[in-house]
Symmetry: C2
Subunit: 345 residues, 2 copies
């Protein structure tokens, strides 16, 4: 944090909003009215609008002891955009409300908003409104993201078909190991503030936790390749929980292959360091913000060459249940706590 400290009380609420929003440049022609009025106005031209919202609360969703405010601002936006992409839509606007105690300075909020604007730039979205409230204690963040999608191109969770291939983007389990690592370092620091954390070796997993990206590229790839997934959602709560959502909402079963789950080398190494099972981290870890989706079998050729996409299983009739086939060839039920599934059998 900077040495200058301007008290929020010294600029007042409207002054603060003006200060924080002075540099907004609206990028979308559809953003007719942004910050500074009772509400924002968006223009549409026969397109469909997608809206999603998330509430993030200090010490529940994030720990400011090891989360730089700039990263927190970036992530607060990205996790919402991820939900828009998960509908096969393109995010266009966000609103952002924050609740802050007088523990925060204007400079601290500047850092937070720097991250917010960096995410808006990276994904081409406009911040078009919000609310700033005082909180008694703790930092509260509420983001609503709005997106567009051509009529009937949006993709729900409930429309997977029997025989469809189950796929995911990127790699899984890293963010959870980043969290485990930072929590351990925090504990060590609290016990002995002289010890300096050595984060070098865990750069990848920590980066995946603190600065996740939404899979804009995957949704663009779908469009370029003429792929319309039959169902899709983002992976925020761990792979097994999300697979069960798609199965339940589509009324289907699934076969998932453990050896097909994409896990980065750095994630495997971090897991082994903590004596954890990398597969369990991917199944139950959460916060990866990759996309989980199903495609018709005949679309397989269209995505087989994309190294950012892995086919990890296929959808079955509901009677077959929701199964994971382990590397050893055993079949287990997938549970929302994939972790426990392994531990208890």
């Amino acid at each position: 944090m900077s040495e200058n400290r301007t008290e929020i009380s010294s600029v007042g609420e409207f002054g603060l909003i003006e200060h924080l929003t002075a540099n907004i440049e609206l990028k979308n022609a559809s953003s007719l009215v942004g910050v500074g009025d009772d509400a924002a106005v968006i223009d549409h031209f026969g397109r469909q609008t997608v809206v999603t919202t998330d509430l993030l609360i200090e010490d529940v969703h994030f720990d400011l002891m090891y989360t730089p405010l700039q990263h927190l601002g970036y992530k607060s936006v990205v996790v919402n955009l991820s939900d828009v992409y998960a509908m096969n839509a393109t995010p266009t606007q966000i609103t952002l409300s924050i609740g802050i105690s007088n523990r925060f300075s204007v400079e601290a909020l500047d850092e937070f908003y720097e991250g917010v604007y960096a995410a808006c730039d990276a994904y081409g979205v406009d911040l078009i409104g919000g609310d700033t409230a005082s909180s008694k204690k703790g930092f509260i963040i509420s983001v609503t993201a709005i997106g567009e999608v051509a009529p009937d191109r949006f993709v729900k969770r409930s429309t997977a078909q029997k025989g469809d291939l189950l796929c995911c983007s990127g790699d899984l389990g890293a963010a959870y190991l980043g969290l485990i690592f930072l929590e351990r370092e925090k504990k060590i620091f609290l016990e002995n503030p002289q010890v300096k954390a050595d984060l070098e070796g865990e750069k990848y997993v920590i980066g995946r936790l603190l600065k996740p990206e939404a899979r804009k590229d995957i949704v663009e790839f779908f469009q370029q390749s003429g792929i319309l997934p039959t169902s899709m959602m983002d992976i925020s709560d761990g792979l097994s929980s999300e697979i069960l959502h798609i199965c339940r909402q589509s009324g289907l079963g699934v076969v998932l292959y453990e050896d097909k789950i994409p896990i980065a080398e750095e994630t495997r190494n971090a897991a082994f360091k903590f004596e954890m099972d990398p597969t369990a981290c991917a199944l139950s870890g959460g916060e990866d913000y990759e996309l989980l989706f199903t495609i018709a079998q005949q679309d397989y050729d269209k995505l087989v060459l994309n190294e950012q996409i892995s086919v990890i299983g296929y959808m079955t009739e509901p009677e077959k249940g929701t199964k994971i086939i382990t590397k050893g060839g055993n079949s287990f039920d997938i549970t929302a706590q994939g972790w426990n599934a392994f531990a208890s059998k």
Copy 2:
């Protein structure tokens, strides 16, 4: 609160969401996808979309000691819809996120949502999404409202013209006196829990605080009467603060007549009981959720017969300043704390 108590932990997050949203019936044909997916989808047909959001935090924006949860749910929606109407738009959808500690039971949340759904019904809007998070302490509410408006019919704060008439709906100052009254009763109760509050005489002002309504009727009247206000906003922070917003954003001055400010008989009586100036309550009180707007002089005939609308002043060139003419004929500067303006001169 009901005698039954179901712990939130016993139903789980998804169970809770299903429980709370099981009875939603989508009313607008444009609500293609509601609760239960990553994001909601809204269809548009060449109309413009309005989005607004508010964050409400326990013990900052509301006190559960004297705010029934049902009223709180109703008000959380209404204050956002008020912002949509203030754009001359019609609200169509809301998203609602809440942060709750384990101090709340499912039954308590049911009461809150009862109020939310009552407001949705009363104003014809659909709840289409949201997020439920746990909070360490206190109740946190974030509502985003979305509305529609025909192209180029939305009304900003910054477009008032010199000579326009300044108008407001309903009556002002009551909600603030309701707050003063409930805060006094709370203090008495905390000092002596045996004393039973006598709220009968203050029903009107308490009702205005706890269960405000948004001025749907006024926006409908504009449409029926062929009136397009030249600027508009809702009165949430007190009349003087809002007038100064319109003046500043439109680059104009104003003359406001104290004797034209609409104040209900019940509000006057409550003010005198507390030895307060009713005008000061209207100027600085806040939470009235009436509409403040300007119209061209030639539209005067169109609204003169509407008893829910008062003409309270007119817009001037900026050099004339922002003035209030008192009942005694004196002229004072309007300040954001109208209260202090009277006290200090």
